[in-house]
Subunit: 181 residues, 2 copies
């Protein structure tokens, strides 16, 4: 079986978080080139009642971390939300990746059938199996915050593009002799 | 096997496209309430050199449609890029969903191992198996354009939130008796 909860979850979170980290680098370079404090970017947002970059990155990390923990039946480590700089956000991403990489592939066996409950107010709960949780909750939330972080920086003039967002796709590029493709 | 290329691809694209369609409805309501032409939203963008809403929606549809076709070894239907209104974009989404739903689950058997090549300039090509293609190409591109469409509308004051983006998650909500969760 080539397709597994491990392959889809860790195999998405880790490279996308690495891409997010390099996108933050581009933000820092942009601030440095334009001679403004990169904390402006950390606090930038797309709408007054929408989370700023710092929260987008924190929440993206938390969805990756907490979803992984739920899928393997662990308690997720708790990270304080105290980042104030791009470097601190990069450190949080690195810590998140460390946690993701510490999860062993065998721990995901049967994760697709694991009952996952997320309590909601008023005696309601989200109840999903692991597959539904991964597909209908973890991934859409994760991508929401990664892409919104990208969009905040792009909106603020940072020179990033799809190649930064999907830098790991470059690993699938192959050279062919003339006419080989 | 509960986790399959079919479950992850069609099971992501269809509900997310439905959510995108209802997000466009919220855009139309907002324009109507504020008494401005909703074509302003169709052409809104987050940066001068970034695609406007119309292209974000078109490309989200195309990634869903073309990825599905590649995964099942079909030629994808070609849709003209001629939408100019929110209603026309909603029609494109509906046509895309029709195509996705016409793909039979059995056609995805073995899709995870299918060799997929995307030609690039200079005799380069992206070469991936179906799993890699789905995870490292189709899904991140799809989510990129869905979320950016959301972000464009949100940036322009449309009253949308996560419950619109993830409306299908409501299907997983269960009521419990007191203390049951």
């Amino acid at each position: 079986m080539k397709i597994s909860v491990y392959a889809i979850s860790i195999g998405t979170f880790v490279p996308m978080l690495r891409a997010l980290s390099s996108i933050l680098d581009k933000g820092a370079e942009h601030a440095s080139a334009r001679n403004f404090d990169s904390a402006v970017l950390v606090n930038a947002r797309l709408a007054p009642d929408m989370f700023p970059l710092v929260r987008q990155v924190q929440i993206a990390c938390d969805h990756a971390k907490n979803s992984t923990a739920r899928l393997i039946g662990q308690e997720p480590p708790v990270f304080e939300d105290n980042e104030q700089t791009l470097d601190e956000l990069k450190a949080r991403i690195a810590r998140t990746i460390d946690y993701l990489q510490s999860a062993r592939e065998t721990a995901f066996e049967g994760a697709e059938d694991r009952d996952i409950k997320i309590p909601l107010p008023n005696n309601l709960a989200l109840e999903m199996n692991g597959l539904q949780f991964l597909r209908d909750w973890a991934l859409p939330h994760f991508y929401f915050h990664v892409v919104t972080a990208y969009d905040i920086l792009r909106h603020n003039g940072v020179e990033i593009g799809k190649r930064d967002y999907l830098s790991h796709a470059a690993g699938h590029i192959r050279q062919h002799s003339e006419g080989g493709v």
